[in-house]
Structure formats: structure tokens, C-alpha cells
Symmetry: C2
Subunit: 382 residues, 2 copies
């Protein structure tokens, strides 16, 4: 472990892959351990759409993500704090990570104004005006009470002029320091966020700036932000590995907003530990299942009398109890249960995939596991 | 028990109330016993909206209702039969009752044509033309494979000319006989349906006609149809008791389509055993909770920071885990989980109310139980 590791959030690398940078780890939190690599289901508004916490537990979710931007606007952090924090408010007694809202601010708000001291933004709900300094954002995340909080950052779009990306890198690093100084709750881990867009030198500059701060006052983890914002898949991988490699070995690494199964496995090989994405649940609500055969549009007429499960290799209740024909019937009938059953399945698919990857790393077979995955038709479909 | 009770569906009255016609009973079915009085959650399209069978089991549902009319149109009885029947199709391994579709035909279909031999109707989905004789309807319900099937009947609206109601009574009785002759599956109980609208003499005429048929070929139960179609609450009770009293003692009595808690208890006092209604789940989807304080519109601003449960006297997971403030947040955010949690609660409210009524009947305290209920503000609110 690092020298400064008297953290309440010790992260241990339990095994390293010999052929890649993949590793299996374990992060302790006040609400229990998280085994990595891990996929975090997204519960933007304090609910993973349509699912109860019991259903999430049953499908093996270790940690879920919620969003500071949305919860700040509704129902507001004062209520959540009064309710005993986000865990009690949403009845999820396992780890939670809250995103700072940096991504939402820079992707949703067209009325946004940013300066070195913070951001002015308008509510998407009622147009009301707000301002967040890094300290304001930390205070809100402290009220929410997640186990892991993210720094306020400036996320740049793709494509984006390099000088603007560099400004965002510097500003995000300055905000990281201010968040680190402001975030004093020992029960919350703070992750810094690396920006730099598609520019390898700026990614490394971002890492250096954050490590300087880290040397004084430790971050419990690092996230790679500003990826998956529209750039080609290959472009992300041009800089992802070198960026991850520049980070401290025994600190968790979180790639934000990526949920494509093939991309997850490739990112694990580059040394990433945590992932989140709305993809599996959003895709589910559109009637599509992630399966070992690839993506399945269950609405398709060819499933009308298909009495096989969504995925014969899946152990989730949607697969062990229901047929494609039944779920298609629910989709056509616009029944809520379609979204529920497909969300359970798609989340289980990614969570089980992460568990299998972890097992392979622990057993020293990750290279062949990855080769096997990449030789399936499914891997090309994602 | 009746003379002819070699039924696969024995119904035993376990206790009679001394002050009213209320009784506690037990109906055996191939998928397990049903303790009465009982409320049956409605799963029109082979799903109780938004809930999994596990959630229904957990809230104590003994039996659910599904609808032949809707399932006939989509996904079609051939698919459900091929899937192994409705129980397997929807993964509900407890009793199911299918309504024949009589009510839907006469309330939904404006292109309907009825004659003594059956009904012509157009699909609400695609306008396609169909015809059902009583035998056709039995064949479809046989394919669906519910434990309890309902005869095809002609339901009259309110208000309705008495001569038209009398025609419907005669026709429904003739169809009851044809359904009885056609329905030969020993694993399915057939319930006859009493019509007669608000006319006491026609209700009794309907009972007589059905009992004549019953003397030859036994119905496993009797339902009171054509109530709760728009007539005032009091008007139903003018004829309900006498109609129920004219029915064989040891046969279950089912009042169709009623779900108001106060009405349920009053109907139990008149000797009714089974109920179904979309009210608790439909009300839930509109953001309203059934509680011991009455109906609660959870959307109301006064619940914005109310950290108490929907109903402090309720044992359902929605009440033991969540606050009104959280559920209101879900409603305002248009989150599916709002409907899920409120449906669980409202169903549990009615199911628990039925269980308490049953217990009171068994203990000989139903009169005081009913008095206590009727003295609460809640009873007036329903």
C-alpha cells in the first residue's frame, strides 16, 4: 500500500494479470467492500429506474451511482440530509458513489457560465439560477452522504479545441485541490477526475497536476472523465492505457460513463477498476437485451413465439423464469414489467461479466478469457 | 358440503359470523388453497403492472386475476398454451382466475353485436373481427389454463332498460349452461355469473336459472357481475345481500370489479368471499395511497418533507423502508418505482384488510371489527 494509506477506504490489489494491466482489487467502504473490476448501476434520481434495492441486491450489485446535479435540483440536499442521507432515503444499505454533476452541467446546461471560481447554471426543471463553487459542490455531496464523492470538474465535449481542453485540465486540477481541502468527512472518499479529452499530453498533464495535490492530501481514487463523449471508440483507447498507467498503482481507477461490454473488458486490460453507465438500463427500456449472442431487440417479430430465455447462459430471474415471447408481449403491451425484467437482465449481464473477468484475473487466465470473448459474435455486436 | 362435492375445488366454510352473513372459507385449487375473504390483484395482460411474482408473493397475494379478452387479442391463447399455460407464461405458481371477457366486450367494444348464440366483436388493437360463442370462450380459457374460469356472460350498463336487463339475464343463463357443458377440464373450476343489474327480482331470477343448471351439472362457484358499473354504491347494496343469500351456502361467492375498502367490508358482511379490482393498482399509478387515515395523494406538497411512511400501521416494504417524501420525489420525477412502491402498498393494504376481516370472523369479532372500521375517518374517505 501507499505510504499515506491510513485511509478509511483501503484499496488492495489482490491479483495482477501478467499479459495486461488488468487487476483484481478490493475497496473497503463504510457500507461494505467492493470487489473490482465492478460495474455500478446508475440511479440518477435516487432510484435505478423501476428496480427495488432488493432486486439490485439479488442481481449482485455491489455499489450504485447517483447524481448530485439531479438530486440537488430535486428533491434537494436538505431533504436527503434530513432523511438520514441518500442510503436511508432510497433504502440502499450498500456503497453509493455520487457524481459531482460536472458532466451534467457541461452537457445539459446551455445557460451555463464557467469561471475559475465555479459555475453558474440554470435548473433544467424550472430555469432557476444556481452557482456552485467546488466547495459548494462538496457541501452538497456531503449532505447526500455517499461513500464515494467525485470532485467538481470541467468536462469538455468532442471535438474540442485543444486550448479549451487545456484550460479545463488546469481548472479541474485547481478545483480538485479545493474539493480536497473542503471535503473533510472521513466517511466519504474523494476521487479526483482526470480530463484532457483525446490529447495524450493533456491527459498526462492532468495526472501530474492531480498527483501534485495528492502528494499533499491524498485522493482515495482517480477517475477518467471526459471520455465516451462522442469520440470514436478507438480514439479513447489511444490515450486510456497511458493515462491509467500514470496513476498510483494501489488506488482505484474509475472510467466514467462507459457500459459497452466489449469496451469494459478492453478497459479492464488497461488497468481500469470501476465503471458506470446508463446504457444497460436505458437499452432495457428500449426493449433490447444484452446477451451472449449479442444485442437482442426483443420487440422483433421473430421472438413472437420464442420460448427460450433472453440468454440461455444467464442466471438472472428474468432468464430463469421468463421467455423471450413473454417479454416481447410485455413490450408490445407497453407494460412496465418489460423494463423491469430487461433492466434486471442487462445489469446482471454486465455484473456477471465483471465477476467472470475478476475471477479470470485471480486465476491468471484473463488473457484467454479476453480472447474467448473477442472471438464470439457477441463481442462484435457491442 | 353439498351433495355433489366431489369437486377438485372443495370450498369449506370455516366460520360464520353470528351478526351478519360474513364467513371465513377455504377454497382448494390445483395451485394451492385460497383463504377467504380474499382480494385478487388484477394482472389484465398477464402481469400485475410493474410487479414481479416474487413481489406479489411477498405482499401475501393468494390468487391473481387475468383477462381472457386482452390475452386473446395479444399475445393469443395459442402462444400461452404452447408456453405451458398462463401460470408458466407469467411465472406465477399460485392460483389464477381468468375473467371471460364478458365485461370487457360490453364495456369496450362499440362495434359489438350480440345474439343468442354469441358475440361478434372487433379488436381494440387492430380492429380485426372476431366471434365468440360460449364454447369458443371456454376453449380459449382452457388454453390459458387458469384454475378458475368464468362463464361468458352479457353484462348490462347502468342505467339500463329493465327489458334489456331481463334479456341479458336469460341469455347469460343459457350461456352458463353451454359453458358448463363445454368446460370439461377437471383442473379448472367454472363460476357462473349472476346478472340482473339493479333489479332485485331479476337478480333472483338469474340465481334461479343458474341453480337449475347447477342441479344437473355443478358450478364450482358463483359470481355477482354487472355491479359497480356506474350505479350508486347504496343501490348495489339494495340487492346484493338478497342475491348472495339465495346462493348455495358452501359455494364461493365472488363480487366482480369492486375494490373500495369500505365496500369490500360491507360486502363481506353480506356473504361475499372473493373480490378483484384494478382500483388499488390504478390509484397507485396516479400517486394515491390507501391508508388507515384514508386516501393520500402523495403528490401533495404537504408531503414534500414528510419522513413518515405512507401508512404507519402497514407492514409492507414500501412502508417499512421508504418515506412519503421519497415516494413523492419519485412521483414528481416520473420514476417507475413510484408506481411499483405504491402498487405494493395499496395491494398489501387490501390484502391485509381481508386477512384481518377473516381473522375477526374466525374469532367471532367481526361485528366489532366492522364497527371499529366504520368509526374511522378513513372509512368515510373510501
Amino acid at each position: 500500500m501507499d505510504a499515506l494509506s491510513k485511509s478509511q477506504f483501503p484499496f488492495t490489489v489482490e491479483a495482477d494479470d501478467t499479459h495486461s494491466s488488468a487487476r483484481a482489487g478490493r475497496l473497503l467502504t463504510p457500507h461494505g467492500p467492493i470487489e473490482t473490476p465492478v460495474f455500478m448501476p446508475v440511479g440518477t434520481r435516487a432510484t435505478v429506474k423501476g428496480l427495488t434495492p432488493t432486486q439490485l441486491e439479488d442481481l449482485g450489485a455491489h455499489i450504485i451511482l447517483s447524481n448530485t446535479y439531479h438530486l440537488f435540483l430535486r428533491p434537494g440536499p436538505d431533504l436527503i440530509e434530513k432523511a438520514g442521507g441518500l442510503h436511508r432515503f432510497m433504502a440502499w444499505d450498500h456503497p453509493i458513489l455520487t457524481d459531482s454533476g460536472g458532466f451534467q452541467l457541461f452537457s445539459l446546461a446551455d445557460t451555463l457560465k464557467v469561471d475559475d471560481d465555479g459555475v453558474n447554471f440554470a435548473s433544467i426543471l424550472d430555469g432557476s439560477k444556481h452557482r456552485w463553487s467546488p466547495e459548494d459542490n462538496m457541501r452538497v455531496q456531503n449532505q447526500l452522504g455517499a461513500d464515494i464523492v467525485m470532485q467538481l470538474d470541467q468536462c469538455t465535449p468532442y471535438p474540442c479545441d485543444k486550448s479549451l481542453v487545456e484550460t479545463a485540465v488546469k481548472r479541474s486540477a485547481s478545483w480538485a485541490k479545493r474539493c480536497r481541502d473542503a471535503q473533510q468527512n472521513p466517511h466519504q472518499a474523494l476521487f479526483a477526475i482526470i480530463q484532457g479529452g483525446v490529447f495524450g499530453d493533456l491527459r498526462l498533464q492532468s495526472v501530474s497536476r492531480l498527483l501534485e495535490i495528492d502528494a499533499q492530501n491524498r485522493f482515495e481514487g482517480f477517475a477518467l472523465g471526459g471520455y465516451s463523449v462522442g469520440e470514436p471508440h478507438e480514439t479513447m483507447f489511444e490515450t486510456l492505457g497511458a493515462t491509467a498507467a500514470a496513476l498510483p498503482y494501489e488506488r482505484p481507477r474509475y472510467l466514467m460513463g462507459v457500459g459497452n461490454p466489449s469496451t469494459l473488458l478492453a478497459a479492464i486490460a488497461e488497468g481500469i477498476d470501476l465503471f458506470d453507465c446508463v446504457l444497460p438500463t436505458r437499452t432495457a427500456r428500449m426493449g433490447t437485451a444484452f446477451t451472449s449472442e449479442g444485442k437482442l431487440n426483443v420487440r422483433n417479430a421473430r421472438f413472437a413465439d420464442d420460448l427460450s430465455p433472453l440468454d440461455p447462459h444467464c442466471d438472472c430471474p428474468s432468464c430463469t423464469r421468463y421467455t423471450r415471447a413473454y417479454i416481447r408481449h410485455l413490450i408490445l403491451s407497453k407494460e412496465m414489467l418489460a423494463s423491469v425484467l430487461l433492466s434486471i437482465h442487462n445489469l446482471r449481464f454486465l455484473i456477471a461479466l465483471m465477476a467472470r473477468a475478476r475471477q479470470a484475473i485471480l486465476e491468471g487466465t484473463f488473457a484467454s478469457f479476453l480472447r474467448a470473448w473477442n472471438s464470439t459474435p457477441a463481442s462484435q455486436d457491442f
